[in-house]
Amino acid sequence: MLTTKRFVIVYILLLLGILYMHAHAETVIPLNKPFAQFPTEHQGWRMINEYEFSTRVLSILKPTDIMNRTYARDDGRHIDLHVGFYDGGKETGGIHSPKHCLPGSGWFLRSSEHVAMEIGSDTVHMVQAVYQHGEASELFLYWFQVRDRSLNNEYALRLAEITGALLHGRRDTAFIRISSRFDGDSKQAIKRSQDFATDFYPVIREFLPS
């Protein structure tokens, strides 16, 4: 029998839902320091270039703060560093994985593997990938940083966002990409990128909320 009781039960359930959503209003976690203060010189690395994304790209990514820099050491070769931070607020976007965006813009995937690097007391999980664009080859080290965890898988990232919100009331995420062009052998580029990661990982963590 359809009775008023059946409607009242549904009203109550839905109202509880509304209450819960209001009680868990979104939490926005700021960066510890804006990327503008990111050191231009560190451990022998010197910033030689800094560039900004176009407004079009920014309107798609909608980061809270973003940074694109090129660093060089005295031995010449360059390293590109990209860090995007998303504070988890409604206005910010989410991380776009290079796995999709690079092939779309003409990069051809040569190889990709999951690696873990020991940096200080942390184990940093990263993707180490080689992409080719025309004649140029580029080595990428990238990972997603969610609080004190480094992730190298898009689905794990999604899961971490949900559990983060559920258990810690936080949805902030960051994307870190270190890249280096090379000709011929990738060994030098791997070494260089890993050196850079080792030197800059603690600095990056200083800026990101943990």
Binding site: L2, I18, G104
Partner: protein, 280 residues
């Protein structure tokens, strides 16, 4: 009690559920509508509720005399939908937040009106799923390889036809112009719209499940084919009339024309399938 009697008797109860649903979804649904208007992959979102309403209208004759027999299983569905909403809301996962609305509507139909009514309402209710943009993590994984495939096929065809062209990923280069740079991060154009329309078309015109499935599945090859035609057409224009004409065609006219061609192909396939049915 029949469905129409129940609707009449409980009209105020039913009206009261509206403000409660608005309270639950006021920060979810408007965002989705904004996405329909800003994301060309989902501009069909506006049509979906209308088509759903039409499906409902089509079933009204049958629905109104259906006997109402509430099912307690509906309560399980409602609770599941609410959990889905709250979990997704915590993780800012838009797809599940939005999908939970459809789950709740299904749950309420079951809990209030029962299995018989739900069976008839299933199509109008579940069709609403197609108005929800699928998560980009899945969309990219599926539509991206297709898009690269379209580019490869088109470029090979153009080369065979003697057009000077080469590509890097989905960026296509002619001696005098470069195409597709801008939407490097978006997938195969119009595939989602085509899919939604194929589902509507299949259910409107076909009786048998196999034919429905054929029509729905055909949305993918049709999208691939028409997108390839668009690229090839643009290639020819670029070769013989210059970059300006090609870019104009590519960005303005082609999107619409390609969709029209896709619809014609879909209609043709539907006609063919009906014809095969008759001969048997």
């Amino acid at each position: 009690m029949t469905f129409s009697e129940a609707l009449h008797k409980f009209r105020f109860h039913l009206l009261l559920v509206l403000p409660v649903l608005i309270g639950l979804y006021y920060s979810v649904v408007p965002d989705m509508v904004v996405q329909w208007s800003s994301d060309e992959n989902y501009s069909h979102g506006f049509l979906v509720p209308l088509i759903s309403a039409f499906f409902f209208y089509q079933r009204w004759e049958q629905l109104r005399d259906t006997h109402v027999a509430p099912s307690n299983f509906g309560l399980v569905v409602i609770v599941a939908g609410l959990c889905q909403l709250l979990l997704a809301w915590l993780g800012t996962e838009y797809f599940n937040m939005r999908l939970s609305l459809v789950v709740l509507l299904c749950g309420m139909t079951l809990f209030w009106f029962g299995t018989q009514v739900f069976k008839i309402m299933a199509l109008p209710l579940l069709f609403l799923v197609l108005m929800i943009p699928i998560p980009y993590i899945i969309y990219d994984a599926a539509a991206f390889p297709l898009k690269l495939f379209v580019t490869e096929v088109s470029v090979s065809t153009l080369k065979l036809l003697g057009v000077l062209v080469w590509n890097e990923g989905n960026i296509i280069m002619f001696p005098n112009t470069v195409l597709e740079v801008a939407d490097a991060c978006s997938g195969l154009r119009s595939i989602m719209s085509l899919m939604a329309l194929a589902v509507a078309f299949a259910f409107l015109t076909q009786e048998s499940h196999i034919k429905k499935a054929i029509i729905i599945a055909s949305a993918i090859p049709i999208a691939v084919l028409t997108n390839a035609m668009r690229v090839i057409g643009t290639g020819f224009l670029a070769q013989y009339w210059g970059a300006q004409v090609a870019e104009g065609f590519f960005h303005d006219f082609a999107g619409f024309a390609v969709f029209a061609v896709a619809m014609v192909l879909l209609l043709g396939l539907g006609g063919l399938l009906s014809f095969i049915g008759k001969r048997e």
